[in-house]
Symmetry: C2
């Protein structure tokens, strides 16, 4: 059968790998030539890792499988009746289609906020955040006005989920450890790091007492957590926060968005109803509501468990759904004979240096041990042995030297911001 997979993320790659060496003619389509290990994007955003350290070229991941073709192309639409994927520059016919194009940042109707508050879903997002964070410290070094410097050294992270917590924790490390001796005009510890969460607590998906532990750990890193607080408005100069009926303007030059994601716009082109996050409500078999030959998995799918709970948009769900779909294609020519069942192996989140929270259902872990497990699991699941070793080396250095090497303020691949003296640019 001709199997077309859209997206080289955790879901799509799982399908492609599982079908590698099979009799099927598999085509993996992605707009980029690499897989991104999204759980570590925040480390690129904070200068701990280089983009390539958490990316794996799709071709080299799939090189051994001669029946798998990787196509670098832009999907523009679908002709579901003719079983065709439309590309910006061509068409791809399929017998079975697996759509796993992932998610992007969601600003809930305030898309104009993105300019002031970038999210963290792509390598570009990560390097843009990296640029803003370290540029803010550089600007503070040269700023004479104490007021402006305070705004430059105020970092607001919106959203108290794992991404927000991990970003905030790492920023705390940067201010207190990484940059401690680097500046002459101010003390990086002066930096104010604020984690804003609309709900009553951070890490909402985690059971007690993990959120409380995380909050205490963040406090030790100098991160102030503001729960039950929402963002009313924001611009380049700061954010308007609202909590307990009170409104307050907080001057800040660096606001980061970790408050929500929505499905890839491809979902809207699949002729199926979508939820408010733009996800497609798939069948218990991960099949498209009314197309047996179309599967939707990962962040694009709103999969409801028998208990009525919608599975979160995390890597393990996408990977398990990918393996499930691949099996259905292998074993039953694309006709699933049983529903998909997610096996939750546990949730984890790091809280800065040497601390993490882990929920394994039956038991919880916090602190150093949880952090070691987090380290182990993430290195284990990193695609590509090379990356595993590299990331391990990076982390070993970070742990013992408190330093971060990938602190480049560079539009790598683009031209540098300032070009006054670069007629050659």
């Amino acid at each position: 059968m001709r199997v077309v997979i859209i997206g080289g993320g955790f879901g799509g790659l799982a399908v492609a790998k599982a079908l590698g060496g099979s009799s099927h003619e598999v085509t993996l389509v992605d707009r980029r030539n690499f897989h991104v290990f999204q759980p570590l994007l925040y480390q690129v955003a904070t200068g701990g890792l280089s983009p390539a350290d958490i990316c794996a070229p799709l071709r080299s991941v799939l090189r051994r499988h001669k029946n798998v073709r990787t196509v670098l192309a832009e999907v523009t639409g679908f002709a579901l009746n003719r079983k065709i994927v439309q590309l910006a520059d061509g068409e791809l016919p399929y017998d079975v289609l697996v759509v796993s194009a992932g998610a992007r940042n969601h600003y809930f109707g305030r898309e104009n906020w993105e300019a002031s508050a970038p999210g963290l879903k792509s390598i570009e997002d990560a390097t843009e955040i990296r640029r803003r964070v370290f540029t803010a410290f550089e600007a503070a070094e040269r700023e004479s006005s104490a007021e402006v410097r305070q705004a430059l050294l105020t970092f607001v992270i919106v959203g108290g989920g794992p991404t927000g917590v991990e970003l905030a924790g790492t920023l705390g490390e940067i201010a207190n450890d990484t940059l401690r001796h680097d500046f002459r005009g101010f003390r990086p510890e002066e930096a104010r790091i604020l984690l804003v969460e609309g709900g009553s607590r951070i890490l909402n998906a985690f059971p007690d007492p993990l959120p409380e532990f995380a909050e205490r750990a963040l406090l030790r890193l100098g991160v102030r957590v503001r729960t039950a607080t929402t963002v009313e408005n924001m611009d380049a100069t700061g954010v308007n926060l609202r909590s307990g009926g009170q409104s307050e303007f907080l001057p800040s030059r660096t606001v980061l968005w970790a408050a929500g994601v929505q499905a890839s716009p491809l979902a809207a082109l699949l002729e199926a109803p979508t939820d408010r996050s733009g996800r497609i409500a798939v069948r218990p078999t991960c099949q498209h509501p009314n197309r047996d030959e179309v599967f939707v998995i990962g962040d694009m799918a709103a999969f409801s468990t028998p208990a009525g709970k919608v599975l979160p948009g995390i890597a393990p769900v996408a990977m398990q759904q990918g393996a499930y779909v691949a099996n259905a294609i292998q074993a039953n020519a694309g006709k699933p004979d049983r529903p998909f069942a997610y096996v939750n192996k546990g949730d984890m989140a790091t809280v800065g240096r040497a601390a993490a929270v882990a929920d394994f259902g039956s038991f919880h872990l916090t602190g150093f041990v949880a952090w070691l497990i987090w380290l182990f699991v993430h290195i284990l699941f990193l695609v590509g042995f090379r990356n595993r070793v590299l990331v391990f080396v990076h982390w070993a250095f970070q742990y013992f030297t408190f330093n971060r090497g990938a602190r480049l303020i560079a539009a790598e691949g683009a031209r540098p911001p300032s070009a006054v003296l670069r007629p050659d640019r």
Copy 2:
């Protein structure tokens, strides 16, 4: 004394480090927040290393020296009479000024060629070349016309110096080893790699028989060397080559420029005569022709040896000049008591995988041994212990797996080229 150093390259960093801990008030000004280890830029351009692997944040390099301030700023001019450096957003007074702003690509009046043939002087150059090289292979995979595919798989490197030779050799490796199993629509070995040199031989600065050895080594990698050949013209579709009175158009979508560099435009603002490469003819003490308190070192300086030879723009020259100037500042309050003398410790160039040429004056080395020495020396001089280990790990993997991990087609920090389906962009 107030010492202002412009440029955090090999020269400027050598001065700053040597003056670290001294009684002088040292300010290092750079447009970027990191030092770039330029000899390895070609490895970033060819996906072997990540930008951060060959960069070191200036602040962390100089963090221990409390008398050294790092300023991220754009130098716009000089008021030499008032002993002031003008910044885009301020001024810096000095008692001693060290200008080492390096060089940029030189197209000898054909600046319009840069669009078709990027050079390799900055991190942005490197990631741009990386993007073009790997995009060409991706496009070839999807190209139906054999003619266009041939043009996509034709890589022309202009300039047979060390940079050109190292780029060509690595491209040879990529086509023959790295990508061998990655594509389905064509065989990467089909790629044509052409090294064009106007002179009678490549690696002109090296004594016989090293150039001949390098040429043979390149041939083994599938690189064809065209000496006594000049570029008449070029555009996005290819290059016009001229040799032996014959003119020929070679269709190529990827042309790389390694044919020449010129001094930073800052040189033109120093009120001193410059040579055709824009360099300032400094005194034997590296001093500005008519300003005792101004030193010009590195690629910006045209330093003539007693033998009348002008020193090449390479790292060892800049580093030795930096140490010399620092010593003059330390020992004699900025009044040199002896001329600068360059000690040539040898020249080296790699020729693809596991081969290099090394000229140590009294004796030469070629092949694997020369390559091992090259490896050792470059890791030794890499700034920052962390980078040394990381680069070593990268190279170990490359050597044994033939793979390259940093093959990202990404405008890291910028937005991705295609945005059709990214309303969030």
